[in-house]
Symmetry: C2
Subunit: 372 residues, 2 copies
């Protein structure tokens, strides 16, 4: 394929793959797509190592990085330490988690670990400085308008800046702020998402920004036919995340992979229980415990909820992997409704090739309907 976005990004197929796993990023890029490393959870040193490894693997082929710098969060501008932020987590939340664990036959931690407050300080800027020393071809912000330093770094270094949006109003705002690529992500997406479905959001965003910049479709896309449907609607390509979680290369917890393979599209929920903002993930006893409409507990604002949740969920994953039934009932991870179509573990490279074939078949199918 030689569409404008393929030319611009130097790729064969406009399939963008977001992953926290460097192996997935390299495999997708080497297969003709565009890998994007989720870098938010790394220290600057570790990110540098990851990117150097990718550089060795892809030998000049294009890839990008994605960090999360939310526009609003608890403690913004106060320059707090992780410790000081953790002190803002009310004691009854720690008690609630201890009780939830006890109900699932899991011992509470003696001293509950509260996690680190990633990106709440200048961490995002430091990660970006590391990234631009590598030959990255895209920098993305996964939540809200990118910070000014990202827009500036993109312009200074000639690297396009992408941003994820879940509503047309946000897309218009992002374009005004100088973003070069819009990822319009529907409510069926894994992770942070809005309320509008991909099928409605894509034409709405494209109309709203009047072709100012290309739009990638995201949310629920795990096959080439869905990607083709979005390109028919005017998208320049697809941005994907969930589909890589069940690849050979992914570092997804083994028990969670099993859950994903068994899940239907109705086994996910848009919940604030992991980060404090609505994010789609597997339904589990964990997400049930944070349901707003039943006996569930209210969640804390970003980043306090993830500081509270992440260390516990990692402990739960380890227990679930070792066969602990209570932990298996609690275990969850970010994934979109497309999980219903993810039924087999395969190499990331094969996923790309199947996307291409399925895309071409879909284009044939639509073409035949107007030719006949």
């Amino acid at each position: 394929m030689k569409t404008p976005i393929c030319e611009q990004y130097g790729i064969d197929f406009p399939l963008f793959a977001f992953s926290h796993c460097r192996d997935v990023v390299a495999a997708v890029t080497n297969a003709g797509g565009f890998g994007v490393l989720g870098g938010a959870a790394y220290t600057p040193e570790l990110l540098d190592q990851q990117l150097s490894w990718i550089d060795d693997q892809v030998k000049g082929k294009p890839y990008g990085i994605d960090i999360i710098v939310p526009a609003k969060f608890e403690g913004k501008g106060e320059n707090l330490s992780g410790r000081q932020l953790a002190d803002r987590i009310p004691d009854d939340y720690k008690t609630f988690i201890a009780e939830l664990l006890a109900q699932h036959d899991i011992e509470p931690d003696e001293t509950p670990r509260m996690g680190s407050a990633m990106l709440a300080g200048s961490a995002g800027e430091q990660l970006l400085e590391v990234a631009v020393a590598h030959p990255i071809k895209l920098m993305a912000n996964a939540l809200g308008v990118p910070p000014d330093y990202m827009i500036k770094s993109g312009k200074d270094n000639g690297i396009p800046v992408a941003a994820l949006v879940g509503a047309k109003e946000h897309a218009v705002k992002q374009v005004t702020h100088g973003v070069d690529l819009i990822v319009a992500q529907g409510t069926e997406a894994g992770g942070h998402c809005g309320e509008v479905s991909t099928l409605v959001l894509i034409p709405e965003v494209i109309e709203a920004i009047d072709n100012a910049v290309p739009v990638l479709a995201a949310g629920g896309i795990v096959t080439g036919r869905q990607m083709a449907g979005c390109v028919a609607m005017g998208a320049a390509g697809a941005w994907t995340g969930s589909v890589w979680l069940t690849t050979d290369e992914a570092e997804t917890a083994p028990h969670t992979v099993k859950k994903m393979l068994a899940a239907t599209s109705r086994d996910t929920i848009r919940s604030t229980g992991r980060t404090g903002k609505p994010a789609r993930q597997l339904v589990s006893d964990w997400t049930d415990a944070w349901r707003p409409n039943e006996s569930g507990h209210a969640t804390l604002p970003l980043p306090l909820q993830s500081m509270l949740a992440e260390p516990t969920l990692r402990r739960i994953d380890n227990l679930a992997n070792s066969g602990h039934p209570g932990a298996q009932a609690l275990a969850t991870y970010f994934v979109g409704q497309g999980v219903g179509l993810m039924n087999k573990v395969k190499p990331a490279r094969d996923v790309v090739f199947e996307f291409v074939q399925d895309y071409i078949a879909a284009a044939e199918r639509l073409g035949a309907s107007v030719r006949d």
Copy 2:
């Protein structure tokens, strides 16, 4: 277009239009699509008149009817009168509505009207008997597995039976029950809907039923490019409803039309506040009053909630049309997220022609992406 479904249903373009308005049904059929009259709210005599009128207009061109025969509802099998069913509406619900109206400067009814329990008895069967005396080419059930008498009537009269589904498990069940056409409707749809988005549901349903019967895509589709996207994914065509509500022909309350033209895709909500089952509609003070997660009131089961709600909502519509601010804040109607793309009142015929043009342009766009 001469796709298999066009041949089978005798149409030029596989756009199915559900409407309560006979004028829309006739206009769509006459423009080369397939009109489907929502017949559930008619008496047998009135339905007969409506269908005779359509027969005169379409002169043998194909159209169908849609009724709602839920598989489960309050009082099923008890052979209750509307009066007896109405007696099951608790008094505190009447008080709640009176208070909600009072908060919006609307006088309560002296004797609250409770509405009729449409289709709770043998009304569905009677409507169907009337319908098959007309040259209908499709009978559809909008909620759950069609009753046995519908399947039998379809076979006896050689009329295909369609059913709407919101999950792949339901599609498999419907096919087993002998349904000839599946309408797979995503969560972005107006009216009753499930939780899975159209973009995920379509490939999931098609895979699950293994091409046993054709699948129409529904949910959020108000443009030809979205329809084309769904055909690229394997759908045989589109089933639409919301887009007809803002046509010249529609009988939508004028104030509600204004609300729809101004609405974005984020101005709808999946609420049980109108029928007792989750149905997407415009957000309003009415839907806020029935939110499960805040100070809202729990809703009654089908058909009690609609018996309670419909007469009041019709009064509200009339007041809203005459400029009453409280009623305007309460007014709502079923509509999908596609409402964000519905920005102009136009003739139904023009909507069909715009769909065709937009569909062809989308097919060109996708075709170009693989040719280049």
